[in-house]
Structures are given as C-alpha cells and as structure tokens.
C-alpha cells in the first residue's frame, strides 16, 4: 500500500463524508427543531390535514397516470429502433432539467386560459388552471420523466434471450411484455414509480404558478409549508417532518423491494446504458 494510494482513499472518504454531512444536516435539523408534540400539533391543524389529503390524492392520481401511459411508452423506447428515437428520448427527459418556474410558465402558455390549447380546453369546460386537475397536470408534467427514464432503463436491461425464449415458446408480444418483461423489470419500474411519486409529492413552483394555492383544492403540502413559513415556522417544520418521513418510508420500501429484482439492479442498468448516456435520474428536480 503506497502512501499515494492511502492519500487517494483518504480523499475519497473526505468527499463522501462531506456529501453525507451536507445532504443529511438539513433533514436532521427538521427533526431536531420539531418535537414529536409539535409534529402532532401540526397534524391536528385542519388545514394541514387538508393539504396532506390533497397531496396524497393528487400524487396518487398523477403517478397512476404516469404508470399507465408511461410503461408502454417506455417499452417502445426500450425495444424498438425508429427514426428520431434519440430525439424522442431527449424530449421526454427534458422536464427533468426544467426549473419548476419554467414548467409553470410552460404549462400556463400551453394549457392556461390564454394558452395554445387552453382556449379550446376552456370551451370544453376543461380549463385546468386553479383546479385540483391542474395540480395533477403539473405533477404529471414534472414527475413523468423520472418514471419514463427509469422504466426505459429497466426494460433495456432485460436479457434478450428471455424475451426470445418466451416468443419461441409461442407467447405473443403482449403476453411476453405482461408476463416476462414487466415482472423482470419490476424493480426498476418500482424505483421509477417511487422517484416520480417523490418528485410529485415535493412539487412546488409549477403547482403554485399553474394551479395556485387554495386550501383543500390546490394547496398541496409544499404550498402549505410555504404559507406557514412566514407566520408559523414551527408548523412549517412539523409539516416538513411529515413530508420527509413519508418520502423516506417510500424510498426505504423501494430499496427493499428493488434489491431482489434483476431489472432493478443499478449495476446492470448502468452497464447497459454506459456512462455517456445523458443525465442521471436524479439530475432534475
């Protein structure tokens, strides 16, 4: 063991320690600053419960839509060669790197009352601005790429031989997809779902700009936290703690679920995709 190698290892440890400290201190601070009593008080507040209920409903609907439409879309991207495939992949990943304010402006410009297609939506009585549906629209927009990316990677990581074997044995495309591809890729799909759900749960900027903030209708937990920040910092901390706990629980569940599935293996995915393949799943917000 040369001194240089020890120094390099030490540098790596320093880097990791700095990362872990920086990334955990704010989360720890939330729990240190709010006692369990504060937390319960925060939850007893009816407006906090309204926000939690709305957040859970909207994120569930949004992730449901994302999984239903995104799974077949990701399968196509993962298994078919077609002209413009790289462009399509880039386009669906673009919202990952958009600032939430840009997402909000974009949604208004598209679906707002004065937007590209918003006028037509209004004529049909489907104007989503300032409605709960608008919250779901904003959540789907910002969260879908997280799922699509992960699902595409998971499908790409499936060993072709399994699919070929399935077809050789007489199963059709649909059957192979449903009975082989999805179960095999389930770890990756669940990871993508959790990432999308977490992103949706934390969505703030696009929701505020596109859907506004109204208790019980469009005020999700992040908006409620922001509203409390000025007047009731302890209440804001308590709600934040609830959000952290929820997100951590989901992340943990996914880690446990995903560890047993080949499709969910991070290593397999990265080997297949290679280092030059664009953004990491966590780059966007």
């Amino acid at each position: 063991m040369t001194a240089r190698r020890v120094a390099f290892s030490a540098a790596l440890v320093v880097a990791l320690t700095v990362c872990v400290a920086f990334l955990t201190v704010p989360v720890v601070a939330i729990f240190v600053s709010s006692s369990p009593g504060d937390l319960l008080d925060g939850l007893r507040d009816p407006s906090a419960r309204d926000a939690l209920r709305l957040s859970l409903i909207c994120t569930s609907i949004a992730t449901g839509i994302i999984v239903l439409v995104g799974t077949p879309a990701a399968w196509l991207l993962a298994t078919r060669r077609f002209r413009g495939r790289a462009l399509v992949t880039t386009l669906v990943e673009l919202p990952l790197v958009l600032p939430p304010a840009v997402a909000g402006i974009g949604l208004l410009a598209a679906f707002g009352p004065k937007g590209l297609v918003g006028g037509a939506l209004g004529d049909l009585g489907l104007q989503p601005v300032l409605t709960t549906a608008g919250v779901v629209v904003a959540l789907v927009f910002v969260a879908a790429p997280f799922y699509l990316r992960q699902a595409q990677s998971a499908f790409e990581a499936i060993d072709r031989d399994w699919l070929d074997a399935s077809r050789t044995l007489g199963a059709g495309e649909l059957r192979t997809w449903l009975l082989i591809a999805i179960p095999v890729a389930r770890g990756g799909l669940v990871t993508g779902l959790a990432l999308a759900w977490g992103r949706a749960l934390g969505e703030f900027g696009a929701t505020l700009m596109f859907a506004g903030s109204f208790r019980g209708v469009t005020q999700t937990v992040p908006l409620a936290i922001y509203e409390r920040f000025a007047s009731d910092f302890d209440g804001a901390l308590a709600l934040s703690a609830v959000l952290v706990a929820l997100s951590a629980a989901v992340l943990l569940t996914v880690k446990l679920l995903g560890s047993g599935s080949p499709g969910g293996s991070e290593n397999g995915r990265e080997q297949r995709r290679g280092p030059g393949n664009g953004l990491g799943a966590g780059v966007g917000r």
């Binding site: 020890v6 790596l12 320093v14 707002g112 009352p113 509203e227």
Partner: protein, 262 residues
C-alpha cells in the same frame, strides 16, 4: 466485489476533515477585514415595491443595491431566522414594528403609502364594478392571510356585510404568497379579478385596469422601512433609508404609482 478501505486512509481523512474547516475560517477572517470601496447592500423589500425601488436605485450612489423582492411576511420570517440583509422594506408597518420590538431592526420609518384596488384585465372581462366581485361565476385571486396585501384585502372584506363578504370569499380561487402572484394569475387570465395595489396596476403597463375600492372600505396602506440590526453595511443602509424619504426616493415612489410618506 467491494474493496476494503485501508485503515490509514480513514485516519488521514479524519485529520483532513478536522483541519479543512479551520483553514477555511482563517481565510474568511482575512477577507472580512479588508475595506472595499464599492459595497453592495442587500435590500429585502415587498414585492409591490419592485418598480419603485429599482427606479430609486438609479439615484442612489452610496452603494450598489441587490434586491430580494418577496412577500413582506416571508422576508420578515427570514430575518427572524437569522438572515441579515441591510434594509427591510415592508408593505405594512406591523412587520417592521414587530421586528423592531424584538431588536432585529432599527426604528422603522414610514416612507410611502399605497391604495388597495381591484384589478381586472384591461380588455374584456365580466367584472366592471366592486359590486360584481360577489357575482356567481366570477373568479378571484387574493393574497394569503399573512402577506400584507392579503391582510388588507381581509380588512376590506371585513367591512362588508356578512352576506356580501361570504359571496366574495366564495369566489376566491387562489391565495397567493405575494402580490406578484395575484398579478400573474390576472395577466394569465386565470382569474377575472384580484386585490392588488394601485402601483401594481401601473406596473402592469396597460394589461390591467383598476376598479377603485370605495373610500369607506379602503384600508390605510403604509409602508415601513428599517435598517436591519447588525447590517453588514450600516452606513450605506441608513443612507438608503434616508434617501427613500428624501426627494429622490419620493419621486421614484410617485413615478411607480405609490403615494407619498404619510
């Protein structure tokens, strides 16, 4: 196939982690002591002051000014959490007075007034008078209860009969964290009308039209400004505040549609 980490590496990294912050602190101390000729002061100001203060900035020579515009309540909460801008300018007197009572800012100065108005899109729209606000199908955006514009709006509504107040409250579709949010919802056509300041209608440059709120309902909208206790650039901050109540500041406020100091 993870490789073991050599024990000596752990030891070395521990030493490095202990020494690095100390070195960083040392640098900091040296940098803080040197006097720089052109200073930048940070001004936390109510969103409704954006146009006025950016106009005043052109006449203020003592320092470069970096603004942080947001709801006055958010800015006050930041100061309570230990953020130290040089100047705090709020759309009411309550917030700076409260911070002064806690010793967080110097004595507040009342430097401007404003009028609460109902803003509607310049063209089209169903809302033509204050009485229209409670009609069925009208959608409204107002400030959240903690931001001054939202508090003033509630003062106005509180002076109405219970029936009229309920009708208007029932039409509210969004409670925005600052007045800029209300203006945004209006200019995007997301709502038919909103409660904003007269200066916001002026700043919207023809996109919005003002419907006056009857005098009997009008709240007293007074702006307070103070130098923050422990401001990094006290002298320049005081000059900024003094200038605001002087001719240059008052002219900039007037140009932006605000009223003079009370």
């Amino acid at each position: 196939m993870l490789r073991p980490l050599p024990r000596r590496a752990l030891l070395l990294s521990t030493v490095a982690l202990a020494v690095l912050p100390l070195a960083a602190c040392g640098d900091d101390d040296r940098g803080g002591g040197s006097a720089r000729p052109d200073v930048t002061i940070k001004v936390s100001a109510a969103a409704s002051l954006k146009k006025a203060l950016e106009g005043y900035q052109g006449h203020f020579a003592a320092a470069t000014v970096a603004f942080s515009f947001a709801g006055s309540d958010e800015l006050a909460a930041q100061i309570e959490q230990g953020v130290r801008p040089d100047v705090f300018a709020a759309a009411n007197t309550k917030l700076p007075d409260a911070l002064h009572a806690k010793g967080l800012v110097g004595r507040p100065v009342r430097f401007a007034t404003n009028r609460l108005v109902v803003a509607v899109p310049a063209e089209g729209g169903d809302v033509r008078s204050f009485a229209d606000l409670g009609r069925d199908g009208v959608s409204l955006a107002i400030g959240s209860p903690t931001v001054p514009v939202g508090a003033y709006t509630r003062t106005v509504l509180g002076r109405l009969s219970a029936a009229r107040r309920k009708a208007i409250e029932g039409n509210v579709r969004s409670q925005e964290p600052d007045v800029a949010g209300v203006v945004g919802k209006l200019t995007q056509g997301a709502v038919d009308a909103g409660f904003v300041y007269r200066s916001d209608v002026r700043a919207a440059g023809g996109r919005l039209r003002e419907i006056a709120i009857p005098d009997a309902l009008q709240p007293a909208v007074t702006y307070g400004v103070a130098v923050v206790a422990g401001a990094p650039h006290r002298g320049q901050a005081q000059a900024f505040v003094d200038g605001l109540v002087g001719p240059d500041g008052q002219a900039a406020l007037r140009a932006a549609g605000l009223g003079p100091k009370p």
